[in-house]
């Protein structure tokens, strides 16, 4: 059999594909079938089961803002996942309150997904409601005016385009809001 694999073209092609598909199917097709939470929007009204809240679909304007987030490549430097690490829940938290970890059911309306791989800037999975519109306006014009030492690029062409700017901020304010995790709902607008 091995001798055959060594010189038989069709056999080699078949075996290479078979090997590939075993792993390929078990890790891509099977998981969503086994784990329903991957495709079911988050909804919880029972405080004993963690943060309450409900994931709603994005509005048209939020989708527009999201498209700008994608276009400018914000996701190359900002992740959107509070991982199962203590430090992540503290850093995603706000004013002394730790944020809940991210769960798959919070992201079912995300297209494309924005989990990210690199955290050059802070994680944004719970940033919604932390800063108001005026803060974002100043920050996008020149991040270093508000955060000395920041290396985020300035985005004047977004600030100077009111339609784009409102859409983007509208989107940013939704991040992490499905889980209503602030103690008194003290979100900025």
């Amino acid at each position: 059999m091995l001798r055959k694999a060594d010189s038989n073209f069709a056999f080699a092609v078949g075996a290479a594909l078979l090997f590939f598909f075993i792993g390929g199917i078990l890790t891509t097709v099977v998981p969503p079938l086994v784990d329903k939470s991957w495709s079911k929007p988050f909804e919880n009204s029972d405080p004993s089961q963690g943060a309450t809240g409900k994931l709603v679909a994005y509005t048209e304007r939020q989708l527009k803002g999201r498209a700008i987030y994608v276009r400018e490549g914000c996701w190359y430097c900002h992740t959107q996942q509070t991982r199962t690490l203590l430090a992540d829940t503290v850093r995603s938290g706000w004013k002394g309150v730790r944020s809940p970890i991210s769960t798959p059911d919070e992201f079912v309306y995300d297209y494309p997904h924005m989990f990210g791989t690199k955290r050059t800037g802070p994680d944004l999975s719970r940033v919604g409601g932390k800063y108001d519109t005026q803060w974002h306006r100043t920050h996008f014009r020149n991040p270093r005016d508000l955060v000395p030492g920041s290396i985020m690029p300035p985005f004047p062409w977004i600030v100077e385009n009111p339609e784009e700017f409102t859409a983007l901020v509208d989107y940013i304010q939704t991040l992490g809001r499905a889980k209503n995790w602030r103690p008194n709902g003290d979100y900025e607008k």
């Binding site: 059999m1 091995l2 001798r3 060594d6």
Partner: protein
């Protein structure tokens, strides 16, 4: 207790099966004479260039 989930044991079981298959595969190939001189042929042949005017410096 991540490592106590049944699915994790399934994974361990799969690794065990894979190891077993690998061993069977190796022993079988040994018996069939795959580990002879014959299968080392290509590595000598590739050293020879069959086109003209090849540059060997």
């Amino acid at each position: 207790m991540d490592y106590m989930y049944p699915s994790v044991f399934l994974a361990y079981f799969m690794f065990f099966v894979l190891t077993l298959l690998t061993l069977v595969w190796l022993i079988m190939s040994r018996k069939q004479g795959f580990w002879g001189k014959n299968s080392e042929e290509p590595k000598y042949r590739m050293m020879r260039d069959d086109d003209e005017g090849n540059y060997n410096g």
